[in-house]
Amino acid sequence: MANAESNVDNNVEGQNVEGQNADGQNAEGPSAEGPSAEGPVDIDAVKRDWVGHKFDSTQFRVHGDRMLAWAEACGETDPRFTDADHPDFQAHPTYTAQFGAKQLFPKGFPKLGRGGFDAGKAVEVHQPVHAGETLTGESEIHDIYTKTGRSGTMIFIVHRMTFSNEAGEPVSTVDWRIMRSAKD
């Protein structure tokens, strides 16, 4: 298990776990993925083989000062998020979206398409996150699908992280949609 403090710095949008990053940035780079498949990739087969595959567990420390800075930077006005003395002081709802796994894909995962963009994130809140907690994020490949538009077919890989607190209670689920071009 990784050190909690060090992994707080593993954020997904700048982190370079596998050369991936976000906001339109290229995601090529060293990877745990296997070699590129020759010819058309059978997405259904990849989906059958990998969806539900759990592959990473990382711990993250939650810092009160960073919770406050995050909420303020986002223009928050509700004292639950901006006042450390509030009886219900808690992290902003999407706070866990910053935490990234040690690896984006499982070892041996086929290289699907090329490039890579952060297409979006979905955060489900199960219960509030509090300052001082150490969360454990468990990663799995949650879904793989394609969409075809004007710019061609894009492959979407959904990396799900499920966060729990020290009591083992689920606090948050974050789905990170990574988009890649199906073109070689």
Partner: protein, 133 residues
């Protein structure tokens, strides 16, 4: 804001979030995301971006704040965001939203959310599930 106070189709008050470099630096500090594409216009342009960009997860946070501004005390159950085009730092985006579904039993509403850039184009699309008192 109580559940009884809202109706399907209601608009949320529009917000104009602060995405100045100072705010983005604060966010990047809180999330340990100190990278040139977020904090340096010139370096971001060298990466092919129109300028330093607002982190996607900050834009998600802006939408969460918009919901709390509309309904203090509300509980965001889920917030799903699609990052379409980057929001450039030091510009003036606008956040808009509307209630698209209601659930009397759970006292929850679904809210469609959009962040538009200076040109009025959609930068971020979102859907939130929000529980009200």
């Amino acid at each position: 804001m109580r559940y009884e106070d809202v109706e399907l189709g209601d608009d949320l008050p529009e917000t104009e979030p602060d995405v100045s470099m100072a705010r983005v630096l604060q966010f990047c500090g809180s999330a340990k995301m100190n990278f040139p594409r977020f904090n340096d216009h010139e370096a971001a342009r060298k990466e092919g971006l129109p300028g330093a960009i607002v982190p996607g997860i900050m834009s998600q946070g802006l939408l969460a704040s918009m919901i709390h501004h509309w309904a203090p005390g509300a509980r965001i159950v889920k917030l799903d965001t699609v990052f379409r085009t980057p929001i450039v730092v030091d510009t003036h985006p606008r956040c808009v939203g509307a209630i698209t579904d209601t659930d009397d039993e759970q006292r929850r509403v679904e809210v469609d959310l959009t962040i538009m850039n200076d040109a009025g184009n959609t930068s971020v699309l979102g859907t939130a599930l929000v529980e009200l008192d």
